[in-house]
């Protein structure tokens, strides 16, 4: 399959597909970070995670329309407001869902799967009723359009660079929240032993709610970023949820580095293979490799070594 191309062409193809993979990687990381917090830390299988992401995307869409109509002078920076709003909207919905649904199911992990799947159907229909079944897209400000020519055949889109920088910043922030802040320490304590965390003076219910809201909020930011590379529809979240779970499990639950490494591996493999094979063939090959590796290493790529 490589025979039809010259070496320079192949080099450029790999570079550009590699870059497309990096953008996919960024969205995967943002999605998976939220899920790694909720699934990896709390053990809750949140099937509605994709819908939280799409909520962020719709908030961004609304913001873009609002700024275009009423505040055209600030349109160039609407995206930052949209991200903050997406985080707040998804986080608030997350806290509400945790309070009304999830907290009753901590001792029944498989039931969370059913409950959140039902929630995802409800949310999808809600989006369809409110925003319509047609996909919507946002208008990007001018400074995010266009691309940077690297050589005469390799071009790198600016919005892709922006999404990557954004992902990097969010990943660092999540690391600090989980491993350097009081809230993160309390979260990890609750995760490891809920009863004992209460007995050293941690309000476990509050920590659960904040953690779930944080994971959902990050999904909202992922949705914001998602609007730059794809169009938003009621069911767009469904396309990503399986991949995201795969990433979290492959990377090793509760390991942030593992999540990032496995996002990278999976997105690059898919993006590069999609160019040469069909999309579904690329997916089959990726899945087979991941399943094979997980059979040899059930704990995922990265896991902590301690006595238990």
């Amino acid at each position: 399959m490589f025979a039809d191309y010259t070496w320079t062409e192949l080099g450029s193809i790999f570079a550009m597909q590699g870059f497309a993979g990096l953008i996919l990687f960024s969205v995967f990381v943002l999605m998976a970070l939220g899920l790694a917090i909720i699934f990896g830390q709390m053990g809750v299988i949140n099937m509605a995670h994709g819908e939280f992401m799409i909520l962020g995307a719709y908030v961004t869409y609304l913001c873009s329309n609002f700024f275009e109509a009423y505040l055209p002078a600030l349109f160039g920076i609407y995206f930052f407001f949209a991200m903050a709003l997406a985080f707040l909207a998804a986080g608030t919905l997350g806290a509400l869902v945790e309070w009304s649904l999830i907290r009753h199911l901590y001792k029944r992990p498989l039931d969370t799967l059913l409950a959140t799947w039902g929630l995802s159907l409800i949310l999808q229909q809600a989006y369809r009723s409110i925003f319509g079944a047609r996909e919507v897209g946002v208008t990007l400000p001018n400074w995010l359009l266009g691309s940077v020519p690297l050589t005469d055949i390799i071009e790198i889109p600016i919005n892709g660079i922006f999404v990557m920088v954004l992902t990097f910043v969010i990943a660092i922030a999540v690391y600090f929240i989980l491993f350097r802040s009081r809230m993160g320490m309390q979260t990890r304590a609750v995760v490891q032993n809920r009863v004992m965390a209460g007995a050293v003076g941690i309000n476990t219910e509050k920590v659960d709610r904040n953690t779930f809201a944080l994971g959902c909020g990050i999904a909202g930011i992922a949705g914001s970023a998602f609007t730059m590379i794809g169009s938003t529809g009621p069911t767009a979240g469904q396309l990503y949820i399986v991949d995201t779970f795969l990433i979290v499990v492959f990377g090793g639950a509760a390991s942030l580095v593992g999540t990032i490494a496995s996002s990278f591996a999976i997105s690059q493999a898919q993006s590069t293979m999609e160019f040469f094979l069909s999309g579904s063939m690329a997916k089959v090959l990726t899945l087979l490799t991941v399943v094979g590796i997980l059979m040899l290493r059930p704990q995922g790529l990265f896991s902590l070594k301690i006595r238990r």
């Binding site: 009081r182 320490m185 309390q186 990890r188 304590a189 490891q192 032993n193 009863v195 004992m196 965390a197 209460g198 007995a199 050293v200 003076g201 941690i202 309000n203 476990t204 509760a254 902590l304 301690i306 006595r307 238990r308």
Partner: protein, 229 residues
């Protein structure tokens, strides 16, 4: 400091503790002795709010804590070192102690805790799960002390720990009591440790307190008879 009155605890329909009454004075160490299955751990757990109380009341320093959640009891001055230690295995030693600071709002581990347990200072960056049993026990006590308690509950602290460290622990518990005027409740099966550390020895048998005597007058053989199977 700790008042327990008419205290009933049940798992569903099966009642385990049938009305306990005892008080612990400030700065007093009491040992609650008893064989397996007599209700020692249930008493500890219910005092900590992990198992609900069916009837009766427990009060710390005059404040009724019977219906409080665990973290609210901690705020009212109860601290708990559970059976099997239950430290947080993937967190470092320092982080483990810091979890105890959650309520007080302090960020730094107070120096006197490391002074009591110098070995924890040497190992503060290690993961709790990689410590030995005796070190984990010290860590669990340090974590409980970080909450700045008035009453410290220890559930079978000598379980699975070598004799030299048991003697060391008795010394540390008495030192903690002297420095902080703490009331300490130890549940125990090892008579020598209980006699070494306690001011008063209580015996729990089938969910009732059947014996309550100051250390000085304890008849060792009589208490030992309660413990033999």
């Amino acid at each position: 400091m700790l008042n327990v009155a008419h205290y009933h605890v049940a798992y569903g329909q099966s009642e385990v503790l049938h009305g306990l009454d005892f008080t612990v004075a400030p700065g007093e160490i009491i040992a609650i002795m008893g064989r397996n299955g007599m209700g020692k751990t249930t008493l500890m757990k219910s005092l900590m709010g992990i198992v609900p109380t069916k009837d009766g009341a427990a009060a710390v320093d005059g404040v009724d804590v019977t219906t409080m959640k665990s973290y609210e009891r901690v705020a009212n001055g109860i601290a708990y070192v559970p059976q099997g230690r239950l430290i947080f295995p993937t967190m470092t030693v320092q982080e483990n102690i810091e979890t105890g600071l959650s309520l007080s709002g302090r960020r730094k581990v107070p120096g006197d805790i490391y002074e009591l347990f110098p070995v924890l200072l040497d190992m503060k960056s290690r993961r709790g799960g990689n410590l030995s049993g005796g070190q984990q026990q010290q860590l669990a006590i340090a974590r409980a002390l970080a909450t700045n308690p008035k009453v410290l509950l220890l559930d079978e602290p000598t379980e699975g720990i070598q004799p030299s460290i048991i003697r060391e622990m008795a010394r540390v518990l008495k030192r903690i009591r002297d420095e902080r005027e703490l009331s300490i409740v130890v549940s125990e099966q090892v008579l020598s440790f209980a006699l070494d550390v306690a001011d008063r020895v209580l015996v729990l048998e089938n969910g009732r307190l059947v014996h309550d005597e100051p250390r000085e007058s304890v008849d060792e053989e009589k208490v030992a008879a309660f413990l033999s199977v």
